[in-house]
Subunit: 162 residues, 2 copies
């Protein structure tokens, strides 16, 4: 009896899993309209930063309408919230940092169930913003490991600047 | 007869002028929704720049829907186009330039007739973004003198970065 119940719970568990909309990192595609989303902030990671090798450039951060109220409240974020970091090269010209071409388009997509293993966030990034060139194969290692300490802000580094 | 015609043309001229909607720099008010406009680019004017005293900070530049197609075409801009530069302080933290609070909200408003003396653009800026604290009293000297050399881009410094 115990064994039958156990099997049943496995079967029900599988059925429940199959019934859920499964969202994987390779389902994440770059949105076309993010330049019209709310511009959260900009940051430049310059050569002197220990993060330069992986994250050097000008980070223009946007959030979609689904996440905007949560950003202003400091989190937590509802399912459907999406952050985009539009990462560009920059040049230093006569004391000014000037935006250059796109390097990478990085995304965080909130779906508490689908991405339960990485704080409820799906992560993906695209070389040059090209949908055919995803860069994230292991979101836990490549993305979430750095975001995990920001649990109090629902794993988000950006904060609202009025 | 010649004198009468001349007087008439003056009177008609005055009447025509009175009938035009007169837009002056002190009519320009900060828009409330520019963070949802198209984000054009970001630039940081750092301490080493000769422009730092007047323009130091992180310049987040936006354009409204009326001007977006013209931006992508490199100008010229139609009446109603508005650029906003949301100028923020920044801090340099471990090699990264991080956005701080707002310093100034600066605007360019296109109205070819109303601002014919300054390239068809009205200029205004607000300390801290406060509508009660306009900074521009002489747009020709304070703003247009620097923009004038960019005539080929309709006096706009920003260009479209896809």
């Amino acid at each position: 009896m115990r064994r039958k119940l156990h099997l049943l719970s496995i079967v029900l568990g599988l059925a429940a899993t199959a019934a859920l909309p499964i969202a994987r990192a390779d389902d994440i595609k770059p949105p076309s309209d993010y330049r019209h989303w709310f511009h959260v902030n900009t940051m430049i990671v310059d050569k002197a930063s220990p993060l330069f090798n992986g994250l050097g450039g000008m980070h223009n951060v946007y959030i979609n309408a689904a996440g905007e109220a949560a950003l202003k409240a400091g989190g937590p974020y509802p399912d459907g919230a999406i952050f985009v970091t539009d990462l560009h090269d920059f040049t230093l010209s006569d004391g000014s940092y000037v935006e250059g071409p796109r390097k990478t388009l990085a995304m965080m997509v909130k779906d508490a169930k689908a991405y339960a293993g990485t704080g409820g966030w799906g992560f993906q990034a695209f070389a040059g913003g090209d949908p055919a060139k995803p860069l994230v194969t292991d979101a836990a290692k490549q993305c979430f490991a750095c975001h995990e300490p920001k649990k109090a802000q629902d794993y988000v580094f950006s904060s609202y600047i009025p």
